[in-house]
């Protein structure tokens, strides 16, 4: 890893498997050791990453650990919640043995409820128009800039996209949000709620083309046992493993192990 110089702004220097580590982008180590190993050190800083999976696959848990580990390292972290109340999420955090409430009290880990923001901004229409989308982006940008946010989670992108009906506008929303966050050096995770066998990673399908990375979570079965499986499908700027890993949510954080090949088939 090069020291001192700022990371190159574009992905044109993205490493191929043959390039030396000196050409790699600065990484934002997620702090989830297994994931950082898969990614070759972490998410390239400033990347916008989709974490996609059906309900209960661990998207929120993974996102929360990403933020807590960041806050612990002195990177201010922001969780924008759409469906679950912050208070409940903070309560859930206590299942992590490494979580300290001071992180929230000191403002290193900040929770914001998007419905509250919608209300304050007067965004009450079921469908957001272009202007309102612009307001939403600027509001998030200002939050990130004012607080100096280095890690951001939006849980979930899907529920925001339910209010943006035109594909064109979703594309625009994501491109602009991505630019703003990248400029701020903020690494982001956007949670995508999908069905168990969706054939794509997001509500409309355009989202996954725009983001820099896609991490897919699902439940696999082997001879009646259910395993949580994780796979990094794409990550710009990182020569990463594309293999499948089994993950476990534990009080000391998410642990990962290789998904043994001999066990992929076999049904319930």
């Amino acid at each position: 890893m090069s020291s001192g110089s700022p990371p190159p702004p574009s992905e044109t220097l993205a490493p191929s498997g043959l390039m030396g580590p000196s050409l790699q982008l600065e990484r934002c180590a997620t702090g989830i050791e297994g994931l950082d190993n898969i990614l070759g050190g972490g998410i390239p800083r400033g990347n916008m990453v989709l974490v996609a999976g059906s309900v209960g696959t661990g998207k929120t848990t993974l996102s929360l650990e990403f933020l807590v580990r960041g806050a612990e390292r002195g990177e201010r972290s922001l969780f924008i919640s759409v469906t679950e109340a912050s208070a409940k999420l903070i309560q859930n955090l206590s299942t992590f043995e490494f979580f300290r409430t001071e992180l929230v009290d000191q403002g290193s880990l900040v929770f914001v409820d998007l419905p509250v923001i919608y209300e304050r901004l007067g965004l009450s229409n079921e469908e957001l128009n272009a202007e309102e989308i612009g307001i939403l982006i600027r509001t998030i940008r200002d939050l990130v800039r004012t607080l100096g946010v280095r890690r951001l989670v939006l849980d979930s992108l899907t529920s925001v996209c339910y209010r943006i009906h035109k594909e064109e506008q979703i594309r625009d929303f994501m491109l602009r949000l991505g630019e703003e966050l990248k400029e701020a050096g903020c690494t982001s995770v956007l949670v995508s709620e999908i069905g168990p066998n969706p054939g794509r990673y997001s509500l409309h399908g355009v989202e996954e083309a725009i983001v820099d990375g896609v991490i897919l979570l699902w439940n696999a079965r082997r001879m009646g046992d259910i395993l949580r499986v994780v796979q990094v499908v794409k990550m710009r700027g990182a020569a990463h493993s594309r293999a499948q890993y089994v993950m476990e949510l534990t009080p000391i954080g998410i642990l990962m192990a290789p998904h043994l090949k001999g066990g992929r088939e076999g049904g319930a």
């Binding site: 082997r222 001879m223 046992d225 395993l227 089994v246 993950m247 476990e248 534990t250 000391i252 642990l255 990962m256 192990a257 290789p258 998904h259 043994l260 090949k261 001999g262 066990g263």
Partner: protein, 194 residues
């Protein structure tokens, strides 16, 4: 060559070694107790290392009873029990055990071992896998060799002393050949001084 003492031999190994301990089925009880004694008492108590015991042959509760007879304190051993559920023997779960659904959940076993090693960190932890034969009953050979290859490499990189119990007589089975490829050495308990 004079017989080696199992405990002495294990103590002399460099950190991160993986060892197969070969038990003769005709003297199983004797050999098994010798191995527990050498592992939990000789090696474990000297270094104060934490032992993670993967129980696939007998339930953790049974092994824990033997460990107590050897005066092993509770904080020095924890179990990954992969057999109690399928033997329907789960009514009194141990406090120092974590239970996986079946011996087929190999990834789960790896993850629980990792969990316990992190929970009880020690520069020279010990992992006991009891046994390769029991795992082989429930898993196809390719899966099992993949499991051992990944697990033992991982444990080696963390300087964990890994002991794999193996029950066999003269004939070399496929399981043994596989195990030979992944361990650093095999100790034949029948030939070792105790």
């Amino acid at each position: 060559m004079p017989p080696v003492d199992i405990g002495d031999r294990l103590r002399s190994l460099p950190g991160g070694s993986a060892v197969a301990l070969k038990l003769d089925p005709r003297e199983y009880a004797d050999h098994y107790f010798a191995v527990l004694n050498a592992t939990l008492r000789d090696v474990g108590s000297e270094t104060n290392a934490h032992t993670v015991y993967v129980a696939v042959t007998s339930p953790a509760a049974f092994v824990w009873t033997l460990a107590q007879a050897l005066d092993v304190p509770r904080e020095r051993i924890s179990f990954v029990d992969a057999i109690s559920h399928i033997m329907m023997n789960y009514s009194n779960p141990l406090e120092n055990a974590t239970y996986v659904d079946s011996p087929r959940a190999l990834e789960e076993i790896m993850l629980r071992v990792e969990y316990l090693l992190r929970k009880f960190p020690h520069p020279r932890s010990i992992v006991v896998i009891d046994s390769v034969n029991s795992l082989a009953i429930h898993n196809p050979p390719e899966l099992l060799s993949e499991f051992f290859h990944i697990l033992l490499n991982n444990l080696k990189s963390r300087s964990v002393l890994t002991l794999v119990l193996e029950t066999s007589d003269e004939e070399q089975s496929g399981v043994e050949q596989m195990l030979n490829l992944v361990v650093d050495e095999t100790i034949d308990v029948a030939r070792a001084g105790r």
